[in-house]
Amino acid sequence: MKTNLAIKTQNLTHTVKTAEEELTILNDVSIQITEGESVAIVGASGSGKSTLLGLIAGLDVSSSGDVFLYDHNLSALDEESRADVRGKYVGFVFQSFHLLPSLTALENVMLPGELKGDKEAKQKATEFLNQVGLSHRLQHYPRQLSGGEQQRVAVARAFASTPKVLFADEPTGNLDSDNGKIVTDLLFGLNEKQGTTLVLVTHDQGLAQRCSRQILMSSGRISEPTPLVEE
């Protein structure tokens, strides 16, 4: 496998069992994402975008098929090793921010570094919060921050672990357009600056169009890249 390939999936299929039937959420999905690329996964609700994101980020295991994150076949790893890989390669930004309510902004951003035992976690975190323009909010708790500010903290947290790949699930979904723009600019700015691969799931046409490539999902399969389909 070439090293400039960040993510590769082969015949990825994911099914879930419900009381009545077996639902196929992803059906034979094969994609490749090269290092430094920015990719938007788009599609209607229920098309399997988030499931695909979860699988390629190593948050879940597919029913069949393989996921490679750099040299690691995530499908063959147990949760312990997948977590290791996530810690080394991956950062996340979520639609609902998912900041830890009991931690201040600074502590939230320090957390990835602390988990790795990084002694400079605090200094780095301060730096990143500075970069997202929140140096005056270091000691604030999430509940004391606006939605836009919370998402900026989340972005700082994601980049604080200097990930090779940043996954974002509807990063602007809960924000107004002004805040959405600020967060988008931050994501792409930092992406460029750190050479991170950016994979995001979004309904936001503007956001999708800023990516170098779009993958359109439909009923669990990949369709040709087309303009976004609105719900």
């Binding site: 988030s50 994101l53 979860g54 980020a57 948050l59 879940d60 949760e79 312990e80 090793s81 977590a83 290791d84 996530r86 810690g87 080394k88 991956v90 996340f92 979520f94 998912h98 830890l100 309510p101 009991s102 931690l103 502590e107 957390l111 990835p112 602390e114 988990l115 790795k116 035992g117 509940r143 947290r157 672990s161 699930d169």
Partner: protein
């Protein structure tokens, strides 16, 4: 360390605090009660020891061997000796058969003598007995001999000078059948009296006192090789009335502790489940940041360990302080000082803390280890917190703790079965009630409808909460019920006018005269019983001597000559257990414990020697006797047809008020052969103990009920998030404060009220079981509980609910929704 750092951050947020408080509550409650019970027990033992004049006594019909004394000294025990015998005491004016005891300098080891310098005075306490050459005589003996202080009397060959009037001889209060008036001399004068000759009937006591270890060592050594006629006495083997009271109090306090365990278990489980629920997503987020399951487990377990150390430490300290406070407040009430609490008893609190975390917290927490990081994308993937497995582990843990706590399985089993049944009943009743409530209010748009609709909508959550409320209310009611029936039972058992004097040696012709005197002084006299001495010599044709097992205590029935009586009706403190009783029955009636001691049953034939004649009589009835009633009672009651042929003495008991004592004693001086035994001290001691215990259990009750309210509070708060969210939503939709307040009142009020009703029902059933099997009291109906349960449930739950939920009415809905 990351775990510590994270824990400190968590503490600021409050969730960990809830868990910590629950742990502290559980450890401190159990520790407090346990330490306090231990102190009470020690105090009872000390009090009982004063009745025995020592911690332990070896009693013997033969002189105490030097070996017995030597071994006691080796164990560093304090030693005293007493020799009791009947002897004539002479004065210039006359002679009188007396019960004399000769004691060593150190006697009594526990308790004190009560003496006076006035005849028939009330007395003052002194620590040691008479010196050589002195004699102390009871006022009755002095008046019979017509002597006073300073006069000389003879015991056998020895002339002794009366130094004081003896009011109370410690260690003799319990032996109700010592008939003759008393005197006490120094053991140093005993030989000179020449009263004790080979073959003389005397009772020798070796009194021991010291630390438990030495005493237990001695007991282990002496009990296997007790000689014939030797008995080992402990404070518990005397004073049955006191023991019954203490045992029940112990059971009560154990029950209280057990309930504390259950309650704190509920509190722990509630706090843990809230903690876990709130941390599901957080753990998932941390996992996306690269924390491995191992790392998560190590962080959470380290945090749990820290919580354990801090919570248990603080809990133990608090428990210590709490029992110290209870003890202090008791001391001021009763002017008694309880012995100090022992540090070694803290282990129970420690175990409670550990078990609580293992049973109620860890299983829930372990669910967090396996949270899928995918939860951050799909909240629907949340794990199920309520499962059978969790309940089983929690119930098992609770049961185990209760077993450790009570040292038995009866009480815990009753409690667990009760909890289980309550859960089942609640499942059914709650379901039906909520459904009915929903149907009754359909179509009506009001706070009522919203409230009842919410009850139905969150059915499982509400049923669980109903279970918790019901449990807490049930436990509270059980405690109140047991406490009040215990206290009233004790008061009934030993009323203020319980007999305080026994009259012995009354001739048939004197019965009427003495009754007249008593009537004149308005002193109530109980029934007169004729008393004939006799001895059991055969059981079912087998010689009694052969039934005594070497090294074991002699059975009551076989060990001595005993007092027999006849009666055509059962005394009011006797209960017929088996067989028939009445004037036409030609058999004997035996007391339950005496029968059990040598496995006697109805139909067994007992051979009795009375006045040189032998009789063989079948057992025709078995009775239980309330020995604490202070009325004359007998192990054996024989048919009148047999005993009426023998000359009998009569015995009865009377209650004499303090101000009447002197005048009654003076009138009784006309009956020199009649003996009186004052058991007022014994009664007062029992009453003091009972008062002490009653106070103690009331305090413990208050303590537990307070924690019950805390647990209720925790439980209401545990369910608050969802309710607040709903309230905030309703307000954004334009609902008025009144409407929301009303709907919350309906929801909480309904829950509280239903919990109260079911709790009262369950408590009534439990009380029936507890009174019947554990406390051995007559089961009673408790109408008060049926009022107390529902009203407390309604008001407490509503008030806590409305108070905790008031933020939904005051905080802007937007902020409320965001903070959840």
């Amino acid at each position: 360390m990351l775990a510590v750092k994270m824990l400190i951050r968590e503490i600021r947020n409050g969730d960990v605090l809830t868990l910590l408080f629950a742990l502290i509550l559980s450890v401190s409650t159990v520790t407090g009660i346990d330490l306090f019970v231990d102190r009470l027990q020690t105090s009872f033992t000390v009090q009982s020891a004063t009745l025995l004049a020592a911690d332990r006594v070896v009693r013997s019909n033969a002189a105490i061997s030097a070996e017995r004394v030597e071994y006691a000294r080796e164990q560093s025990l304090e030693v005293a000796q007493k020799t009791s015998f009947s002897s004539m005491v002479f004065s210039n004016e006359g002679l009188q058969l007396s019960q004399v005891s000769a004691v060593t300098e150190s006697y009594p080891l526990r308790g004190s003598y009560l003496i006076d310098n006035e005849s028939f005075g009330v007395g003052y306490e002194v620590e040691n007995g008479p010196k050589i050459g002195e004699i102390w005589v009871s006022s009755r003996l002095a008046s019979l001999l017509d002597v006073t202080i300073g006069d000389a009397v003879f015991v056998g060959e020895k002339e002794l000078v009366i130094k004081h009037f003896l009011v109370r001889d410690p260690g003799s209060t319990g032996s109700a059948f010592a008939i003759a008036p008393r005197a006490v001399i120094n053991q140093g004068d005993l030989v000179a009296t020449e009263v004790i000759q080979p073959g003389s009937r005397a009772r020798y006591s070796l009194l021991l006192a010291g630390d438990e270890e030495g005493l237990n060592q001695y007991e282990e050594w002496v009990t296997p090789n007790l000689q014939k006629g030797e008995r080992w006495r402990t404070p518990k083997s005397g004073g049955q009335g006191v023991n019954a009271a203490i045992n029940r109090a112990e059971s009560f306090l154990l029950l209280a502790g057990t309930l504390a365990v259950v309650m704190s278990g509920v509190a722990m489980a509630l706090a843990s489940s809230r903690y876990v629920r709130r941390h599901l997503t957080q753990v998932a987020v941390i996992k996306t940041l690269g924390a491995t399951p191992k790392k998560i487990a190590s962080i959470l377990l380290s945090q749990l360990a820290i919580i354990f150390i801090v919570g248990t430490g603080v809990g133990l300290l608090l428990g210590w302080l709490i029992q110290e406070m209870i003890a202090l407040s008791l001391a001021s009430l009763l002017s008694t000082v309880l012995p100090n609490a022992s540090i070694t008893n803290l282990w129970l609190g420690f175990i409670t803390g550990l078990m609580s975390l293992l049973a109620f917290c860890l299983p829930l927490l372990m669910r967090l280890f396996n949270v899928s990081p995918l939860t951050v994308l799909h909240p629907a993937g949340k794990i199920q917190l309520k499962s059978l497995q969790l309940y089983i582990v929690a119930l098992l843990g609770m049961y185990l703790l209760m077993v450790i706590y009570t040292g038995g399985v009866l009480l815990p089993s009753i409690m667990i079965v009760a909890i289980f049944v309550v859960a089942m009943v609640i499942g059914l009743i709650g379901f039906a009630l909520f459904k009915l409530g929903r149907q009754l209010t359909s179509g009506v748009v009001s706070g009522w409808q919203i409230g009842l609709a919410s009850l139905h909508r969150r059915l499982m959550g509400n049923l669980f909460q109903l279970l918790v409320f019901t449990l807490i209310i049930m436990l509270g009611l059980i405690l109140i019920g047991v406490q009040s029936s215990l206290v009233s039972d004790w008061q009934k058992q030993l009323p203020n006018d319980a007999p305080n004097h026994y009259l012995f040696n009354v001739q048939e012709s004197e019965v009427a005269q003495i009754s007249d005197i008593a009537n004149e002084l308005q002193i109530p006299v109980n029934e007169w019983y004729p008393m004939v001495r006799g001895r059991v010599f055969q059981i079912n044709g087998q010689e009694a001597d052969t039934l005594i097992i070497e090294g074991k205590e002699e059975p009551e029935l076989l060990s001595r000559e005993m007092n027999l009586t006849w009666s055509n009706t059962l005394g009011e403190d006797n209960v017929l257990l088996e067989g028939e009783f009445g004037s036409d029955i030609q058999g004997l009636s035996i007391e339950e414990s005496a029968a059990k001691e040598i496995n006697l049953k109805l139909g067994d034939v007992i051979g009795i020697k009375i006045g040189g004649l032998d009789y063989q009589l079948p057992i025709t009835s078995i009775r239980s006797v309330d020995w604490s009633s202070m009325r004359p009672n007998f192990y054996l009651i024989l048919p009148q047809s047999i005993l009426s042929d023998f000359p009998a003495n009569y015995v009865s008991s009377v209650f004499i008020e303090k101000e009447n004592v002197q005048s009654f004693y003076k009138k009784m001086a006309d009956f020199p052969t009649v003996s009186m035994l004052n058991v007022g001290d014994l009664i007062q001691q029992i009453q003091t103990i009972i008062a002490q215990v009653s106070q103690a259990i009331q305090l413990v009750l208050f303590f537990i009920l307070s924690s019950a309210v805390l647990v209720l509070n925790a439980s209401v708060r545990a369910s608050l998030d969802e309710r607040l969210e709903e309230g905030a939503l309703l307000r954004t939709l334009g609902a008025s404060k009144t409407l929301i307040r009303q709907s919350m009142l309906v929801e909480f009020g309904f829950l509280g009220f239903s919990a109260g009703v079911i709790g009262a029902l369950a408590a009534e059933l439990c009380l029936f079981g507890l009174q019947t099997f554990v406390f051995e009291l007559t089961p009673t109906f408790h109408p008060l509980m049926w009022i107390l349960g529902p009203t407390t449930g309604f008001f407490v739950v509503s008030i806590i609910g409305l108070y905790a939920g008031k933020s939904v009415l005051t905080v802007p809905p937007m902020r409320m929704l965001r903070s959840l």
